[in-house]
């Protein structure tokens, strides 16, 4: 019985860590939604695209080499250099800023004032577009991403817990790094939003963009900035997830993991994304643990319940929303006729 408790604790801790990874993706959504009311479905593809770009820059891959080769009959693949991770990350950030500018200049500037669902659709279109471009640019094979992050079981925790409980807990080093990075990222974002001039302007736009416009805030600049920051967050998420599974198409599906986090935490709240992520991470891991290890569920339904992680988060969020329709930290919805 005591052992079960330890297992549950281990699952709990791992759920927290997984939650941080979900929250990282959700953060990007929140930033854009807060500043411009756009529900950016392309956030997952942005993570994929930025990770692809990062790997491409690091390995010196020639962009669009497949088309170039097919069109001109050449045989080029690599520039033949290797860029250190830090510089490559810097390069990727520049690409993401450029991307933000293009998105703003050519898409959302023309859609100002449209209904939210239209904006949402546009981001789905953007997701398709970016996915195609990413494939054309960098090819669709799986790429190994190694920016030097540690991975694997953390021995210290394993040993300490073994001495304490007689059962060594498993915590992934990568998860620890991700947690640290996420905390730094959130602190950075909060400081930026609270104390910098641009951050204040951003909050002003989030509150009321017409009022912000009338006191001289450049909406265009703020939106480009927000998209750039979201691109950066996507890059961080892309690095974390890409280190785990290699950089490949499926990376874009992590957006689906972030949606229930958003619902739970509220679309407009940065702390909400973090707390929501933690709740979802812990909830789905514990549910899976109890369901797949308890004989009770098996007897009750005649089959064991397992592989619940895809839907559990959504159902949890749904039940939660019934009681609090705006999410945990969302702004209270005030309706007027």
């Amino acid at each position: 019985m005591l052992e079960q408790l330890y297992f549950a604790m281990e699952v709990f801790l791992n759920g927290l860590m997984a939650g941080v990874l979900y929250a990282l993706v959700a953060l990007g959504f929140v930033l854009i939604f807060k500043a411009s009311g756009i529900f950016n479905y392309a956030q997952g593809v942005m993570a994929l695209f930025s990770a692809l770009t990062l790997v491409g820059i690091m390995d010196g891959q020639v962009p669009f080499s497949h088309i170039i080769n097919a069109t001109f009959g050449t045989d080029i693949h690599h520039f033949g250099w290797h860029v250190p991770a830090l510089f490559a990350i810097f390069g990727t950030v520049i690409v993401m800023v450029l991307f933000a500018w293009i998105v703003q200049r050519y898409i959302f500037r023309h859609l100002v004032g449209q209904e939210p669902i239209i904006l949402f659709m546009a981001t789905i279109g953007l997701a398709y577009f970016l996915e195609g471009v990413g494939d054309l640019m960098w090819g669709s094979e799986i790429k190994k991403l190694d920016v030097g992050l540690p991975q694997g079981i953390n021995d210290t925790i394993d040993q300490v817990t073994y001495e304490m409980f007689g059962y060594g807990f498993f915590i992934d080093n990568l998860d620890i790094v991700a947690t640290v990075v996420a905390v730094l990222l959130v602190i950075g974002l909060v400081i930026f939003a609270q104390y910098s001039k641009e951050g204040r302007a951003m909050r002003a736009v989030a509150d009321d963009h017409q009022a912000a416009l009338s006191v001289g805030v450049s909406l265009n600049f703020i939106w480009i900035m927000v998209w750039s920051v979201a691109g950066f967050v996507a890059l961080v998420a892309g690095i974390m997830w890409g280190t785990k599974s290699g950089v490949q198409f499926s990376l874009s599906l992590i957006a689906l993991k972030a949606l229930p986090v958003l619902m739970l935490g509220g679309f407009t709240s940065i702390p909400g994304a973090i707390v929501g992520g933690l709740i979802i991470g812990v909830g789905e891991k514990l549910f899976e643990f109890f369901m797949s290890s308890s004989a009770l569920a098996g007897e009750l339904f005649g089959f064991t319940i397992s592989a619940t992680e895809n839907w559990f988060a959504y159902v949890l969020a749904l039940i939660f929303l019934v009681f609090r329709p705006q999410g945990l930290f969302g702004e209270k919805i005030i309706e007027r006729v």
Binding site: V11, S140, E141, I153, G246, S306, A307
Partner: protein, 424 residues
């Protein structure tokens, strides 16, 4: 409704395209989408082998082979579209390359009299040629794979009382081996734990924590796509002994182990064909295909596991064509003749050596009753330092005494449901 006019115009164009005297091999490839990394090398290998035959031998029996590539993106509906758009061109045999598309095409292709070769995937019970007249899944199927894995483990030591965990993709494909493994567990006395992973399998922490808690002696994996890479990585993370981790052939390519780097060393995977490019045929491919600038795709996949699988599929198709040409005495065979050729196909060691592929796959013989071959499977192991797979066992038989009744039961149920009169 206005959209129909252009549609009709296009359909007129489609019909107008001429049918040439050649052997058409549609390749329902998936170079895009979530599984692209697995689809690209297979499609390249399939195409390159025929290109090589055309360049070196002037086709098969003097008739040019033409590979019609159609992109499915692993999507069932696009697969149907591809089937319909290519079948009119005189397609001889389909490689549906996805369990979903295979299930679609089984009734359609049977009605159209075209053969399907689902090599190491698709509907396992299609091995029963009495019911599935047009479907072939030689040389091995999923149940052979499951049995082969257990046989391999038994050759390594006593398995009774040991714990075996099956980590599987929670879909039709992943569930295939469960029945076989359960029967085998009753026979050999090991404990079986089932651990499903839902699509896409990006996050498997729960599953691997469970494995870490329950400490199974062996883990068998039926995974696909990103699930493979994550599973290998997580197994490495919990320090599961890679020697005791066996994947099915769809979890055993370079793609699956490279992202985990060094730590994937020792991971094993089942196979039914040779690995590496140390075969004479690769010299021909280099000379006639790569150097001539006709390599399919980017041309950088040659010798990878899935490339070899595509090449092996193409080789089997070409051999079936030769067999059909012998039986019917015509060079430009049609789909029905191709089916006969596949049913009379015999692959021997000598034949493979003559093709420049000595020991590349098991020797087997197809018959009217048995479309699945004898079910010989081998084992490969990953060497992370050399970045290559090596074959570590012979192609050895699986437990057909146990599998055959399962095949008969499932195929007869299908026959009853669809009112098919068993032939042969």
């Amino acid at each position: 409704m206005k959209m129909k006019l252009p549609a009709m115009a296009l359909s007129a164009l489609m019909i107008a395209s001429p049918v040439m005297a050649d052997l058409v091999f549609p390749s329902l490839s998936y170079r895009t989408g979530p599984y692209a990394a697995g689809g690209i090398p297979f499609a390249d290998g399939y195409a390159d082998y025929f290109t090589m035959l055309n360049a070196r031998d002037g086709g098969i029996g003097g008739v040019e082979a033409r590979v019609l590539e159609c992109e499915t993106g692993y999507n069932t509906e696009k697969g149907v579209e591809c089937y319909e758009s290519t079948k009119g061109e005189g397609a001889l045999v389909y490689q549906p390359l996805s369990t979903g598309i295979t299930y679609q095409l089984i009734p359609k292709a049977t009605a159209d009299g075209i053969a399907i070769h689902s090599m190491g995937y698709g509907r396992t019970s299609a091995a029963n040629g009495k019911v599935f007249s047009n479907v072939f899944n030689y040389p091995a199927n999923y149940w052979n794979g499951a049995s082969g894995a257990i046989n391999y483990l038994m050759s390594q030591g006593d398995i009774s009382g040991k714990k075996v965990a099956l980590v599987y993709h929670n879909s039709a494909y992943g569930k295939e081996p469960i029945r076989t493994l359960e029967e085998l567990s009753a026979k050999h006395g090991y404990d079986l734990t089932l651990i499903p992973v839902d699509h896409p399998g990006q996050e498997q922490k729960s599953q691997w924590l469970q494995i870490r808690r329950e400490k199974p002696d062996y883990v068998i994996m039926y995974g696909w796509g990103v699930m493979n890479q994550v599973a290998v990585q997580e197994a490495a993370n919990i320090r599961f002994n890679m020697e005791n981790f066996i994947g099915i052939w769809w979890s055993g390519s370079e793609n699956d182990v490279l992202p985990a780097g060094e730590k994937a060393n020792g991971y094993k995977a089942l196979t039914f064909h040779g690995v590496g490019d140390d075969f004479p045929v690769f010299d021909d491919i280099k000379e006639h295909v790569v150097d001539a600038g006709n390599a399919a795709g980017a041309g950088d996949q040659i010798g990878t596991v899935l490339y070899n699988r595509g090449l092996y599929a193409a080789m089997l198709a070409a051999e079936a064509v030769k067999t059909a040409q012998e039986i019917h005495g015509v060079a430009d065979i049609n789909a029905a003749q191709m089916r006969d050729g596949m049913e009379a196909l015999e692959i021997t060691e000598d034949k493979m050596a003559a093709l420049g592929l000595p020991g590349f796959g098991p020797s087997f013989k197809v018959s009217c009753e048995n479309h699945g071959g004898p079910g010989l499977v081998g084992m490969t192991q990953w060497d992370a330092a050399a970045k290559e797979w090596t074959l570590i066992s012979d192609f050895s038989p699986s437990d057909m005494d146990l599998i055959q009744p399962l095949i008969d039961e499932d195929s007869m149920a299908y026959a009853a449901e669809n009112k098919i009169e068993p032939s042969c």
